[in-house]
Symmetry: C2
Subunit: 166 residues, 2 copies
Amino acid sequence: MNVSIFSVLAALLLASTAAAGEAPAPAPNGISLPVGYQDWRVIGTSHREDNNTLRVILGNDTAVEAARTGHTRPWPDGAMLGKLVWKDATHPAWEKATVPGEFVHVEFMIKDAEKYRETGGWGYARWKGLDQVPYGNDAGFVQECHGCHTPVRDNDFVFTHPAVMP
Amino acid sequence: MNVSIFSVLAALLLASTAAAGEAPAPAPNGISLPVGYQDWRVIGTSHREDNNTLRVILGNDTAVEAARTGHTRPWPDGAMLGKLVWKDATHPAWEKATVPGEFVHVEFMIKDAEKYRETGGWGYARWKGLDQVPYGNDAGFVQECHGCHTPVRDNDFVFTHPAVMP
């Protein structure tokens, strides 16, 4: 009887954990997915026509404050930028409008000039798909990120220029 | 002497008002610019290649809640959608990336099924440029908005389909 009750409780516990949604695994360099990034405020958007993706760039409060006051060369420690990426889709009622299709990934830049000194002061991480699977086989994946961002070193390694808004 | 002091005080008061930034004038249909819309959360983005503009679609809390729970046919009363529009620009370091250039306008859809019954339950308003000048010569401008949105009446007159995100 006790064993039976234990089994039922264990099953309930497992079901509860699954229902609540487990946190995605951290990136291979130890960075955890920032909780609640979907609620961050907007800094910009872009459309990459070389790989047919649409992007929205969000920032945490530190990043948005820096973006709106022009303090982005360099961005302050604690700034986090999150880029949500979707495959291009065509709007069903407006064929000349490209809109977000399949969700590709979300990727982050986290500023800590000392901690991430070897990669320009930025920690990089990416989670793929709606399942948010960490990108990269080992911690060395950040060299790929850093290498691609090196051409914009004069903009503190950030491609995004905050969109002008009232 | 009293007149002189009054003049100085009046001048200071005027300068102070201008420095604080006057609220933009309301739209010709009486809708006021929603305060703080720049802080709303993101619902989508789009790239209109017929008029070369990039857009970010934000929503107030009611709209974001509806978007994330799939309650958008119809959207609930109180939902407000704000669309920020920029002219296309080319990223200076990535020529196949289109990024926000000059700010064009911000436009809103405000849901109140009863109040705005004659235009599909939506109140429309737009403010042009960084100076946020109201669009439209008189209240009849909303017929232009409503007319353009009529092809998407099956989507509650809204072009935006909320972008899928984790």
